[in-house]
Each structure stands twice: as structure tokens, then as C-alpha cells.
Symmetry: C2
Subunit: 374 residues, 2 copies
């Protein structure tokens, strides 16, 4: 198979979004939190997967959570009738009219947003759902406990339909402060006596803090089949599936002599005579420049014996290309298909070899990489 | 000034491309290499600046060098009559017809491409310009010396108009192998007696290897006002100007108590009671997640005393937000404008604090960030 043969693209790099994997992952999350409703988090172009593909794969969700009004508009234009949550709420007072027209729910995290909402006069539609955000220790967005109850009462008095919300800083790890336990204690104390549905758990809490789910959970990274901890082994037992596959081809082969250097800075020195493959894929496609020698790339079975084979990166990733050691793939040739991440190479593994987490890599998929949906 | 007030965007992050800086930088390069013609390298959406802005700012170049036929098509559609070089040449034989129609020059780096070009029959147009790529030691793309002369003669016999080309692995640093000197020696030996114009220098060679320019230079990163070495000080004397400014706003402020933690993993612990600002900008916008505490962010003068002030990052960069220490900006408030990189904060400095180079950051600017041109 050639990625470019049947397509009008020149460089043979392409990302494929597997909508069946979206459906599977959403189903797994429902099994893990059967009592909760699900906000499917699709901000940042659905973590690089495209809103279109996410909508197709996640249409049985209870709601979509995102940041940009333009994305909310897109969902309404394409027939989504369910709920939409704006995760950072209003960025300006002028947005309120459009929020109402698009029937969005709003996170409220600042006093300024409360004032904007109180200014709404002569509104007679369905009460607007507010997710009031408590800063229970993460210190990013949200009201401090001392101010939270006041904000709650003001918005309640103004006729809004309130929910409690907070976000965990360390649901994916132990021995870091604040812990989920500490944040839950803060949340419970602050909201005591204020009857309202709650929204608490992110992906990591859904997996590992089943007593901290709330009425609306907010899975993000798990929907995409990527590990909240950055370690793929942590989600293998839970049977999540990679949604994105990033594939390319070998566009050239070099026959190195022992002692030859590869790429910028000459980072890799050939320990013996060997073949390397040049792949159409570099950091301007979203592949991490940090990837160390040894980062796995999978070469397709058609050009190897049997099941395909992992060929490690050798030499620094450049803007449009990367280079792999072909000693384990003697039949690989120009045109051989490779997977940079996906089912064969978990994006978590690439991220680990690059000092980051899968979140960053999938979100960084570049605009110039065509995205196909299957 | 508010970035969002007069625009129909919700999140207040925006990249501005200064086309005057493009003109200035191109002029500086002409001064540095007055005998050479200039291929302005605009691959990867003009290193994240958008092809549209680059075309506007660089229209006095001698040619544009890029990868994707779609970008060549775009330039022709928008009136560019000058030369266009496809830096990786043909990805398939089928592209040849379109290459001819778009009047592109071609890099040839593999035997397969020679075969495709030899297959062209009954072509009676203007001779196609070929830049034959020698692998003089970088071991990425190009012919080994032993094969180079054969390829040259074959293409010459087939009626193509040939140029010699190679690419330096270490023009930006000393004491790495192969050196520019070693590569030049290889180039001179291999091309001896084969009369043809040459294309050698990338940005670093234009600055620091003035004996290795060639007839066509290929500046990339310098056009964008970013340092080829990753160190901003290395280009300050040469007076290049930043072309991209990435700006956003403070969307919330937290009043921390001494000992409070900030963000995921609780990386930062407040050493005293202090204010932090939450900025609409995270790694899904292209800001590096690797950025360490202390990475500079500039807060606009309108909200500080005098000239604006640098407020360092505190806490891990998250997907849509980052947090800065506001102790030096007591008047900063929600809505204050910040610069993440540009004229006030060289992108090189952000890259250095993130373990990478400016190239990666500008190319990684995310699709969701609106790009304006001034």
C-alpha cells in the first residue's frame, strides 16, 4: 500500500482518525462511570483529531465541552442538538448574546464573568446552565472557597441554573500536592448546603478516583485512547484504543559507512555499515524534535517479514524529515509505509522518549498534515 | 488595548506577522550575500507565519523554496511569476505533469527521481531546472559522491538544466562533524569539472561561512528573525527583526497564599503571598509544554509602570493556559495584554527555556490561533 498513490497529496504523511475507536472509548467510559453524564472534551480541535471526526465518533455523548464559540457554532450548524459547555465561559460580555443563541452552558470562574451575567436583562428563555468553578487547590481558574458561596448566591438570585465544578491537579499521580483527597475535602466543605449537580472528574479521576466522579464527568485524553499519566501501560488493562494513526513513508535510503554521522549536529554516528531510511515527517508536522535516538517507528509488514518491525530513530528530527535505523528491516524500500504513532506505536511511547506526554503530541499535529476519517 | 475587543474571536490569543520585518530581513540577507540569488524558504506554512504573509513580505525575493505542490499552486494562483523550487522534488512520477504546468524547479535527491525524470518524453518546453543534491556528509537526502556524477550526466543527457546543491549539517556550530569545511571539500571534489551554478548556504552559512554561499543561497530561519543557533544573542548584531508576535491576555488572576501550589503536578510553590496571572495560551496553541519556571512573558506597558515588564512563568504550561508571577506587575489586571514571543521576548529565549530551538516553536503555532498580517 502506498499512502500517496490514490491521493492528491505530495508529501506522503497523513493522519487517520478511527471513529470506531472513539465509539469504543466512549463506551468504556460509560462502563466506568455508569451513573454520570459525560461531557466529551473536544477543545483544541478535538485534541488535534478535528472536530468533525470527534462529532462523528462521539455523537452518543451527553454533551461536548470546548472553548471556542466558533466550535459551538460548528456543532449547531452540523445538527448537534445536545448540550455544549464552554469550559472557560465568557471571554467578553459581548459574547453572551451568541452564547444564548447557541444554547451553550457556561463555566464561570471569575468575578468579572459574574458581573457580565448579572447584567443580562429581559431574558425570558430557558434558564442558562452555569458550572461554577471552585479553585480547590489547583490555582489556575476558579473562585477561592471564601468567594465561591457569594458567587453561587449571586448567580442563583439572577435566575441561573447552577452546578458545582472543580478540577483536579494531580488525579494522575500520588504524592503530589494538592491531592484529590485534599481537593475533595475543600469542595465538600465549600459546597455544603448548596444543592446543585456537580462536575468533578477528568480522565485520570475516572480511572483512579471513582469516589470523585460527580454528576457530569469530563473525559478528555481517554476519549482519544491516550494515557492521562503519559505511560501507556497505565491504560492497557482498561482497553482504550488509539484513535489517531500518523503514518508516512520512506522517501529515501542512505547506505552509511561505519563512522558516518546523521543529520543536524551529527548526533548519531553509525557503529557499522548500515542502511537508514529517511521519513517524510518532521517537527513541522508535529513530530517532536526532542525525540531521542531509539524512539520507535514501525515499518509496515508488507516490506518486512511478518508483522512489521520497529525501527528506532537515529539522528535528530529535522523540520520535514526524520531518519530511522533499517538494520531490522532489510526489505524496507522507498515507498515503505511507516507508523509514527497509532496502534503499533503508542503515542505515549513517543512522548516518553521526548520528555513530554501524549496530550502535547496529538494536539500539535500540524495543519499541513491531511486528516482522514475512517 | 484589548486583543479581543474589536475582533470576532473568543479566546484572546493572536499571532501578528509583521511584513515590514520580512522586508527588512530579506534586505539584510541581500547585504550579506550581494552576489547570490535568494531562495526564500517558505515550507511548513512559511515556518508557521502563513504563506500569504510571507508572499506579501518577501515578494522581492528571487524565488520561493517549499515542499508542497499545493503551496506552489497557491503562489501561482496569487500572481507569483518568479521561480519556485520544490525542496524534496517529486514524491511520485504522477506529479511531474503538475510540476511542469506550475513551472517549478526540482531538487533531485534519489535514483528513483532520476528514473522518473528520464521517463519524460515529448517535452518541448523550457528546460526544467534541476538542483541535484549531493550528500556531502549530512546523510539525510542526496546522492553519495560515487553516484552523484552519474546522476548528473544522466539528467544532463536527458536535457535538464542542472545546478549543484548540498546542505550543511553544522553551519551553526563548530567542533561537530561533519564540518562545513569537510562538506565543502567533498562538494568541490565531487563537482569538479561539472559546470553548473551552485546552491549551498542555509541561514547559518550566510552568517558565518561567507566562502560557502554559492550562486543561490537558501535562507530560512533568518527571514523570520530567529537565530539559527537557538541563541538570540548570535543574531542581535546582524540586526534581524522578529516577524511573528504571539500575544494574548490575562484572563484571570489568583491571589496565592504562601505554600500554595500552581497547576498540574503542583510544580510551583508560592514562596510568599503573591498574585499570579492566568494567560489564554497553552501547548495546544503551540506554546511549549516544556517551558520551565522563569520563562519570560512580557506584560504590556499600559498595565505596568513605564515600558512593560517581564513576568516569569510559574507552574507547568497546560493545554489552554499558562500562569505567570505578577509580583513585578502590580497593576496588571484581567484583560492586560501579554506577549509570549515577538519583539519584547525573543522566541529564541522561550525555546532555550524549553530545551529546543525557535524553529520548532514558530512552526508549531497551532491552527486555532488566528494569524493577522500588518
Amino acid at each position: 500500500m502506498s499512502l500517496s498513490a490514490n491521493r492528491f497529496i505530495s508529501r506522503p504523511i497523513v493522519a487517520t482518525i478511527h471513529t470506531d475507536a472513539f465509539r469504543h472509548n466512549l463506551g468504556r467510559i460509560r462502563e466506568l462511570a455508569p451513573e454520570s453524564k459525560i461531557w466529551s472534551v473536544v477543545k483544541a480541535k478535538a485534541y488535534g483529531h478535528s472536530l468533525e471526526a470527534a462529532f462523528k465518533g462521539l455523537e452518543s455523548t451527553d454533551g461536548f465541552a470546548l472553548l471556542d464559540l466558533a466550535d459551538a457554532q460548528w456543532l449547531r450548524d452540523h445538527g448537534w442538538e445536545g448540550r455544549i459547555l464552554l469550559l472557560e465561559g465568557l471571554f467578553s460580555q459581548q459574547e453572551l448574546e451568541r452564547v444564548i443563541r447557541l444554547r451553550c452552558d457556561l463555566v464561570v470562574h471569575s468575578e468579572k464573568q459574574v458581573v457580565w451575567l448579572e447584567s443580562l436583562k429581559n431574558y425570558s428563555g430557558h434558564p442558562i446552565n452555569i458550572f461554577l468553578k471552585l479553585n480547590s487547590g489547583m490555582n489556575r481558574l476558579g473562585f477561592r472557597p471564601a468567594e465561591y458561596r457569594t458567587a453561587f448566591h449571586r448567580l442563583h438570585a439572577a435566575g441561573y441554573h447552577l452546578h458545582h465544578m472543580t478540577h483536579f491537579a494531580n488525579a494522575d499521580q500520588v504524592e503530589r500536592s494538592p491531592s484529590v483527597g485534599e481537593q475533595m475535602e475543600c469542595f465538600n466543605q465549600t459546597t455544603e448546603g448548596l444543592e446543585a449537580p456537580s462536575s468533578l472528574a477528568n480522565s485520570a479521576a475516572i480511572l483512579w478516583h471513582r469516589n470523585a466522579l460527580g454528576d457530569w464527568i469530563r473525559p478528555g485524553i481517554l476519549l482519544y485512547g491516550v494515557s492521562p499519566t503519559g505511560v501507556h501501560a497505565d491504560i492497557v488493562r482498561s482497553e482504550f484504543q488509539a484513535v489517531m494513526s500518523l503514518r508516512s513513508e520512506i522517501i529515501d535510503i542512505q547506505n552509511l559507512k561505519k563512522g558516518d554521522y546523521v543529520g543536524y549536529g551529527g548526533r548519531y554516528e553509525a557503529p557499522e555499515d548500515m542502511r537508514i531510511g529517511v521519513i517524510a515527517g518532521g517537527y513541522a508536522d508535529g513530530y517532536p524534535r526532542h525525540a531521542e535516538d531509539g524512539t520507535p517507528v514501525w515499518v509496515d509488514a508488507a516490506d518486512t517479514q511478518g508483522d512489521g518491525v520497529i525501527c528506532p530513530i537515529v539522528g535528530r528530527v529535522s523540520m520535514d524529515m526524520l531518519t530511522i535505523d533499517l538494520r531490522e528491516a532489510p526489505n524496507a524500500k522507498i515507498g515503505s509505509v511507516v507508523e509514527l504513532w497509532g496502534n503499533e506505536v503508542p503515542v505515549d511511547d513517543v512522548a516518553q522518549m521526548s520528555g513530554t506526554i501524549g496530550y502535547e503530541l496529538i494536539c500539535a499535529l500540524a495543519q499541513r498534515v491531511p486528516v482522514l476519517t475512517d
